[in-house]
Amino acid sequence: VRSEKINNSPLNNLLVRFFSVLLFSLFSFPFSLLSASPTNYTYNYDFWFENVASPDAYYVSGYILGTGLGIGAFRDPQGLFVRDNRVYVCDSGNNRIILLAYENGEHRLVSVADSVTINGERSPFNYPMDIFETRDGFLYIADTNNQRILKLDRNWNYISSIIKPDDESIDESAEFLPLKLVVDYASRLFVQARNINKGLMEFDSRGNFAGYMGANKVDVSIIDYVWKLLSTQAQKERMELFIPTEYNNLCLDNDGFIYVTNSNMQADPVRRLNAMGQDILIRNGYEEPVGDLVFGNAGGISGPSRFIDVTALDNDSYACFDRMRGRIFVYDFQGNLLYAFGGLGNREGCFLQPVAIDRMGRSLYALDSRSAALTRFDLTGYGEKINSALDEYHAGRYEASAKEWEEVLKMNGNYDLAYIGIGRAALRQGEYQKAMKFYKLKHYREGYGKAFQLYRKQFMEENLWKILLILAIIIIAPLLVKTAIRIVREVREA
């Protein structure tokens, strides 16, 4: 008993840990950060829609509070934007916008803006909800409760503003409340405004209203329609209207396409719009990118995931932020779920009320309005491997990508994409049987079919003579035997 106690003493434990960490860091690959402080339960879904635990793909590398920056706590922050190493936070409740710079692993406060000077007059912000910095250095601010969009230069100097457009499609008495905005490479401004359900409002480079883009489709089911026919006027008034739903956030990707999210279950939760407003998101995963595939109603939270924001990464994968359960779902460019993590709560890496997500390189920033905090996530070694495999795959270098996938498999044997990626490389190298094996393990039928077709062809070409020989023997042998018997008989009778 005595010796057991000694073995389990904290000091001993600490020593063992210290040496194992030391040994590990000596012999492991250059990415020494496998998992620093764990995020909340990282997982994925398999072919059968079952929850599969996975190593952490991201770890929390920074937790930024207003008080920590010395400018007083954030209040109800709503907007987040990242360009290069600059992080803009719309501290909406305090009517100010905060600019941080990320340098050497630290977030440094650069400036705090709470007003602009227009014609010598100071004009304070009123609940600004979003900001966008263009590549040529202009700032666009959705100054929501002032009912205007401001265009500033990099030093917060006023250039122009956009107010409610004079257009017959907009109700005279309605307020113009811009919520979220992006500016594409042609300097066109896309705005999601409250109570505008015709799509995103589009303004040209001079700030003139140019129409709407990408309205949500309305899906009216037959049952709804019949039900509506049967109901009385009073009932109809209390029903949900069959109108297109509003988007709740948008994000510009590297190719100039706009990702939009939608959180009321009447339309696709996430879409990628082209200039015509058509949805061009690729949905080749096990299931469409909708967040959780299986959900209970634990803790009074029930129903599917509801995306509040989306951000596109460089390799065309994108991260969606679920406000129902505070989870971040990252999908690759084919629509496969890469990993999901996060959650609701007061822990590091969890959120109380998710509002916005953005990225810096491969790192993610997530903004939480109730805990008034910005969390930075960096990739772990595992996440790095997955992303470099995806990069290679995206560039069409399947063999290089397979090497990365093999590394991923060493860390997580349940990672379906790794098996399929290795199968893909094997197929291209002519190792059909290996491809078939890997595809079959993860139930990838189309791929298996292709590999099998090639394997079958190869098999037939190599063994054709054997098959023909066997067939020949089966057909000729009885004939020979018959003739032999006949000859013998004839000889005897003769």
Partner: protein, 218 residues
């Protein structure tokens, strides 16, 4: 040894089993003779049913995953077996109950025999499909699915014809009685479910009563 069937029995068994191939391609003639000319046997019918069950289990387990994908973690052979056997028995009972009221000539064993004989071609097609699935690719799956549909279609036609011949019905009457049989099967299943839920409620009542007595009185 004297309980084993004699040679004549085996010969008749073989002949009646082979007759299932005749009924598959000559249903009108075949099903009439099956009962009226005593060309079928219950032993052969049993064997066909067993084979149908077996081939269904094999279909779930041996077919290439390109066409039939079963989560083996939750695979339950008993349920798969019941999926074939139960409908056959429900059909026989429901059909007999109805046709006795509708001037049907068939007796219950005859109905059972006819239904089982009607399953014969689907057994053969399914066996072929299992082998075929291992030789074709996902893109060529059309062949597989056409065969699958064909087997269902053929079986349905055979069952209908079998009912027509066994009960000496016209086509309209056979169709009508078959539709009513399906309704009857539904009613039977419903009653079973209600019955079992009532029984389980009653049992749990007495169990809780017993526990209560143990807890409070004793």
């Amino acid at each position: 040894m004297k309980y084993l069937p004699d040679k004549a029995w085996w010969q008749r068994f073989g002949a009646t089993l082979r007759y299932s191939l005749y009924t598959a391609v000559h249903p009108l003639d075949g099903f009439w003779d099956l009962t009226h000319e005593k060309r079928g046997s219950l032993a052969a019918a049993n064997l066909i049913l067993i084979l149908a069950v077996l081939i269904d289990v094999l279909r779930m387990t041996l077919t290439s995953f390109q066409f039939v994908l079963v989560n083996m973690e939750y695979f339950n052979a008993v349920i798969v077996i019941m999926r074939t056997i139960l409908p056959v028995f429900l059909w026989v009972v429901a059909n007999w109950s109805l046709t006795t009221l509708m001037d049907g000539k068939g007796r219950m064993p005859e109905i059972y025999m006819a239904v089982c004989y009607a399953l014969a071609p689907s057994v053969i097609i399914n066996a072929v499909m299992i082998v075929l699935s291992r030789l074709i690719t996902f893109d060529e799956g059309a062949i597989y699915w056409v065969l699958a549909g064909f087997s269902v279609f053929w079986t349905a036609i055979l069952i209908l014809t079998a009912m027509m011949m066994v009960h000496d019905y016209s086509l309209t009457k056979a169709v009508l009685s078959s539709l009513l049989t399906i309704v009857g099967m539904g009613i039977m299943v419903f009653i079973f479910v209600v019955f079992f839920s009532l029984i389980s409620d009653a049992v749990s009542y007495f169990v809780s009563l017993y526990k209560e007595i143990l807890f409070r009185v004793l």
